[in-house]
Amino acid sequence: MTAVSDRQKLAYLAGQAADARVNVELETEGMVLNIGPQHPATHGTLRIVARLDGEQVVQAEPIMGYMHRGYEKLTEVRTYAQITALINRIDWVGSFANEVPFILAAERLMGIEAPPRAQWIRTILFEMGRMANIILFLGDMGIQVGALTPMFYAFRDREFILNQIEAVTGGRFHPNFDRIGGLKDDLPKGWIEDSHTAMAKVREICDIMEDVLLGAEIFEARTRGVGVIPPDVAMQFGLSGANARASGIDWDLRRDTDVGLPYGQVDWKVWTHPDGDSFARYWVRLQETREASLIVDQLLDTIPSGPVMAKVPRIIKVPEGEAYVATENPLGEMGFYVVSKGDLNPFRVKIKTASFNNLSITPWLLRGVYVPDIITILGSLYFILGDLDR
């Protein structure tokens, strides 16, 4: 007998028998397939237990927690400056966009308003974080569906934005640049002009992606009608960002709520798509990237001069109270519910991340889907694992 001991063999057979007899007339035996936690298509360590009947999914359920770092517990023992350094590691691709909601919530509690120049630069870096995040998605969706080249174009042109963020904040991915009351520093000389060239590069990558992927009939065959989410179900699960807008929900926090970012002074358009399938999600994100580059161009031209830091005491003690501020992050609506008891560190910070809600729809969405479509749907929902597991 081979080295396999009898106990293992029995366990192996028992495992097989445990798979429910899924398809009675065809006498087929169900198979439980573990996609992840080590899998190229899951943006990190996410594990999906899919019960298959042949290639069709009978029931799929994501298992998370491999990347859970316990942010909400950490925030209880850190000062506000330390938390800012921590939270730009939640959605590690949209670097600056994580810090803004937390700082805005703290500013609302303290009743401080950042000077106009700081708001302008904050919005510019916020949109740059969005572009850096979504351009990675535009390339990555190609890999999920099998095309190798778009990824390289995306990374080549994304470098320009990361260089701009690094030139201002010092860090490409983790800027840690936002402070309560304004920003840590001001723009270096010649930055505004380099940013204009970077924005032109962003529009160029959007056109390339439209030619290589969006137009290709195979991409349309793989994504049209795959993973359709009706608007009401999307809202019930709390989907936000491009996933909601792709189902026809005309809702964008940048336009609908006023949190102190000058989106009012810029004319831009919210893109929606009626279909709600994977193709629509890709299409909406592509248009939003182009829109973001136009927003940044307009903001760069109208930067007011002035200080970047309001008058703020050196030791920051946030007065007692609660505040919830949510902004339109690249992945969706990210909100910080900050409860403060008036001392150096917050009493409780609830971090509402977009990917958690975006992924909570997958058990409902992945029923009766083919195996390759699991990957397409997960790719189109576009989550970042740090955002999902916090």
Partner: protein
């Protein structure tokens, strides 16, 4: 065959010579294709340089790769069926070697000029499916199982359009012998639209057949628009997932040498293989030397199309792939055969 050189070797010497020749030619062709297309051309398409460290401009990268695979430990999963697991890559490799038997690279530079040349190739092409199924089933891994079943479904579904596309060429050439097909295209009487200068490459008359053949090759090699058996983002390497070391090297070599083999067959069927149009008046003797280079150039042309498509397009789902094969390729191939037969009779 007029004796090439003065000496007249015994039969067994000829076969061993041919065996050694095949053992040398197949890996080098796979190496050429792998280096030119997989390392360099793809990198240029991605606006990057590809391997640059090993050898001038990365030329010795393949030696480094082979060395890396050879010194890796040769693992087999515990619950795998050891014997079948070890023989699977060898079956796939043999299937690729056998295709080279029939490809003519010169007037008599062919390992065995079988009378049923192209018919033999189509039969052998389906042998690799066995190796893949053995690999997938024996490695006791759910991903490998999925990959193998997909490969089986796909390769069988795409053999039919390949056969039908080849039929168009055979009807027009009137023979199924490879040298015969080459002669029909580039022989003395061959000319098209009245100008003999370009001979009669079947790419012009059999253009639809060529397209179907290229698509079928893409599926036989499980390349990207049809690479479900090895879909990296879904089933992570398909049937090759449990292989390491030399066995994986065998699969790698098999993949690229079969790419060269099929591209060479496409060149022979549609671009006239090793021959140049008779009207150019190149002496028959010179073709012995020139033949292989002409075949290499034409094969590179077809391989360019294969790899260009491979690195640009996304991947189809298997049900779309099957629908595309049965509902689109086969009817068009049948229509192509009918048209060729009618035109053959009329002219």
């Amino acid at each position: 065959m007029t004796p090439l050189l003065a000496l007249d070797p015994a039969y067994w010497q000829v076969t061993t010579l041919k065996g050694i020749l095949a053992l040398v030619v197949v890996p080098t062709t796979a190496a050429i294709i792998a280096f030119v297309f997989l390392f360099k051309f793809v990198s240029f398409m991605h606006n990057r340089l590809g391997p640059m460290e090993a050898g001038p401009h990365g030329s010795l990268q393949l030696l480094a790769e082979a060395g890396r695979f050879l010194q890796k430990e040769d693992l087999a999963p515990e619950q795998a069926d050891k014997r079948i697991f070890r023989w699977a890559p060898i079956v796939v490799m043999v299937a690729t070697f056998l295709i080279y038997v029939v490809i003519p690279a010169g007037p008599n530079a062919v390992i065995e000029d079988l009378p049923g040349g192209i018919y033999y190739v189509l039969a052998i092409a389906s042998l690799s499916v066995l190796g893949i199924l053995m690999a997938g089933w024996a490695s006791a891994n759910k991903y490998a199982l999925l990959g193998a079943l997909r490969a089986a479904g796909q390769l069988i579904a795409y053999e039919l359009p390949m056969v039908l596309a080849v039929l168009g060429v055979v009807i027009q050439a009137g023979t199924i012998n490879m040298q015969g097909i080459v002669a029909a295209q580039m022989g003395d009487g061959a000319e098209i639209f009245g100008l003999p200068i370009i001979g009669n490459p079947y790419i012009l008359t059999q253009f639809v057949g060529m397209l179907i053949f290229i698509t079928a090759i893409q599926a036989e090699l499980s390349q990207t628009p049809f690479d479900m058996p090895v879909a990296e983002s879904e089933i992570v390497g398909g049937y090759m997932v449990e292989y390491t070391g030399t066995r994986f090297l065998l699969f790698f070599l098999a993949e690229f040498s079969s790419a060269f083999a099929f591209a060479a067959i496409a060149a022979t069927l549609f671009l006239g293989g090793w021959a140049l149009p008779h009207a150019w008046g190149i002496p028959y003797g010179a073709m012995h030397v020139l033949g292989p280079f002409v075949l290499l150039a034409k094969t590179m042309a077809f391989a360019l199309i294969i790899f260009w498509v491979r690195f640009t397009f996304p991947r189809l789902r298997e049900d779309q792939l099957q629908k595309f094969a049965w509902k689109v390729l086969i009817p068009v191939a049948l229509a192509n055969i009918m048209l060729t037969a009618v035109l053959k009779v009329v002219f």
